[in-house]
Symmetry: C2
Subunit: 402 residues, 2 copies
Amino acid sequence: MEYEVIPGGVTAAQGFLAAGVAAGIKYRSKRDMALLYSEVPAAAAGVFTTNRVKAAPVLLTMEHVAGGRARAVIVNSGNANACTGEQGMQDARKMIEETARVLGIEEKEVLVASTGVIGVPMPMERIMSGIAAAAGELSRQGADAAAEAILTTDTCPKQTAVRLNLGGRTVTVGGMAKGSGMIHPNMATMLCFITTDAAVSPDCLREMLLRATERSFNMISVDRDTSTNDMALILANGRAGNPEINAPGEGYRLLADAVAQVCVYLAREIARDGEGAGRLVEVRVINASTEKDARLAARSVVASNLVKAAVYGQDANWGRILCAAGYSGAVFDPGRVDIFLGGVQVARDGGALPFDEEAARRELETDTVRIVLDFKDGTAAATAWGCDLTHEYVNINANYRT
Amino acid sequence: MEYEVIPGGVTAAQGFLAAGVAAGIKYRSKRDMALLYSEVPAAAAGVFTTNRVKAAPVLLTMEHVAGGRARAVIVNSGNANACTGEQGMQDARKMIEETARVLGIEEKEVLVASTGVIGVPMPMERIMSGIAAAAGELSRQGADAAAEAILTTDTCPKQTAVRLNLGGRTVTVGGMAKGSGMIHPNMATMLCFITTDAAVSPDCLREMLLRATERSFNMISVDRDTSTNDMALILANGRAGNPEINAPGEGYRLLADAVAQVCVYLAREIARDGEGAGRLVEVRVINASTEKDARLAARSVVASNLVKAAVYGQDANWGRILCAAGYSGAVFDPGRVDIFLGGVQVARDGGALPFDEEAARRELETDTVRIVLDFKDGTAAATAWGCDLTHEYVNINANYRT
C-alpha cells in the first residue's frame, strides 16, 4: 500500500506541536482555543470562503499566507469574529500579535481562524489568556486536544494522518477539521488544518491544496450555505528531509495524492457529521464526458433537499436524482442515464425499470448510502458527499441562536 | 386605481372557456384534467423549465408555441409524463391529437402540460376519456374547476384576474397556477396559465411574459429544486377589440404591468403554499447598485435553508441573512448593509445593533414575514418570496412516493 494511515492528526508529522485549551469562550469549560506550531519555518498555503462577507480572521490570514510562509495557527471556537467591523479587525490583529509574542516568532508567521456566533464582539480578555495557556501546553501529543477545541456543534472530532515514502524518506501528512453545517446556524464554518513534514515549495503546496480542495471540501454539502469563515490551511516544514518538491513529477504526485487523501477523509467525516445527519450520502457520477460535468451533477444531487429527504424517508425516488442532475448545469443526455442505489439498479436510459423495492429500501438504510449515476457518455468521474435531511436538522437550525 | 382585481380566473377574459374533470388519474375521483379553450385563434407565448431533463409535454409545447399562435391547452395532474422515453412522447402527441379532434381545431393550435409522478407511464385510456369529458364541460364558468384540476399536493387553488382600460377598451388578464414545491417530491412542478382578451402581437406577448416571469416565478423558491415540467403559458385572443399592441408604448406598458401583476400574485400564492410552509417570507433588497445584484441577493436569502429554519424557529438571526446575501454572487459592500425584520432594524452597516428581541420575534410570527436588506449602494431593488423550512416539509418529502 502506498499510504499507511496512522494516528496523530496534526502532530503526526515531525516538528509540529499542538494544544487545545478551555479559555471560557464557550460555556462549561469546553476546549475552545487551539494552537498549532511548527518548530521551524514552514511553507504555507490556504483556500478561503468565496462569500463576499468575510470574517476578520479570514481577511488577515489571506494576507499573511500570501507570502507563502508561516509557523503558527491560532484558532478559537465559540465566536466567529464575523460582521464585527473595525473592532473585529483589531481583535484578530491582537490575536496574531499575542501569539507571535508568546512564541517568539514574527507576526507575519502567524495565521488566525475563528468559528462560532456571528456579530458578537470577541471576549478579548479570555482570548488573550487562552493564547498564553495554549502556548504553555504545546506538545507532540496535543493533536487530540486541538481537534476538540476547534469544534462547534460537531458531534465528534475529525482527524487523520497518512505516511508515505518519498525518495527514500518517510513523509507524514496529517490534518484536523470541523464542519457539521457548511455554515453552522450562526455558528460558522468549515475549518481544516493540515500539516506535513515534506519539503515542498509554497507554489507547489498551494496547487496541491487547491486541487485537493476541489475533490474534497468543494464536493461536500450539508445545507448549501457557504460560511463567512471557511478556510483550509496547510503548513509544510521540510523536517522529513526529502529533496524539496518544486515541480511536477513523481514526488509531487505522491505528496499531492496524500494531501488529497487527508482532505477527502476529513470532508467525508464532515458530511457524515452534518447537522442532524443520520447517514452519509455518497453520490458518484461515472462515464461523464468531462470531470466538470461529473462534478456539477454529483454536487447537485447530493445537495438537493428532495433527494436528502427521500434518503431520510428510505424512498428509492430516482426521479428526484435525475431531476437534480438535470438542473445542475452538467451536459449529458438524460435518455442515457442509468441510476444505482448501492447494488440495485433503479433506472435505465433515463427511464423506469422494475426493481426490488425492498432491496432498494435496504440500501437506503445503510450508514453510507451510495448513489451512482452512469452517464454512458465518456470516461470522467467525480464523487460528492452529503447527508440526509432530517427533523433533527430543522430542530437544530430553528432553535440554535436563542 | 389602474387595475381592478376581479373574480373569474382564466375565464375572466372574453372568449375563453375552461373545464376541470376527474379522469381517474388521481385517486378518489379528484379533478385531474383541465382544458382551456379560446373561441378564436390567439397569440401565444411560453416560458419553460431550464432543467436538462424535460418532460415530453414540455418538449412538444415548446415546439407548438414557437409559432406564436394557439387556441387550447390540455393539462393533467397525477402523472408528469417525465422520464418516460419515446412512449411518453407518443402519449403527449396523442393528447394533442385527441384535443384537436374533439375541439375541431388544428393540432398545432393545442398545447399540453402534465404534472405528477415521474417515470410512470401515462394511463392513456383514462386520459383520452378525460379529454372528451373536459371538452363537453367547457364553459365561461369553468375557471374554478380548472384551477382545482391542475393541483397536486397544493393545499388550495391559485387564481386571479385584473381588469384595465386600454385605449378606451376594457381588457382583462386572468390566470391560474399550481406549485407547492418548485418541484414536488417526484410530483413535479410549477404550472401557470394566463389568458387575456387583449390584442397583442406574439412577439410583444413573449416579451411581456418573460419580463413578468423574471419578477415573479423566477423570484420564488420553496426548495431550490427546478422541476422537469415547469411552464408558464399565455394566450391573448384579441376579443377586447383594442388596437393591436405590437411595439413599446403606453398600451404595451399597461398590459405588461397587468400581466406582471397577475404573475406576481400567483407566484406569491405558490410560495405561501410551499410544502409544509407555515409562513410566506418576503425578502426585499433595496438601494442596490443594479437590479441583477438585488435579484441575486434577494433570491439567495429567501432560498437559504438556514434563514428558512430561523424563520420557522422565530429566531432573529440576521447573521444568516447577511451570510446568504454574501454568497449570492451579488456585488455589494457588506460593511454598509442595514437589515430590517418588518419594522425592527436588526443590523446596521453589516454589524450588530441592540434591538428589541421580543419585537423582532413578533415580526417572525406574522403570516407574511418581511425581511429588508438596504445595500445603501444605488437605487435598484428586487423582491423574492419563499416560505419557512418546517418539520412538515421533511414529513412530506420523506414520505411522498411510498
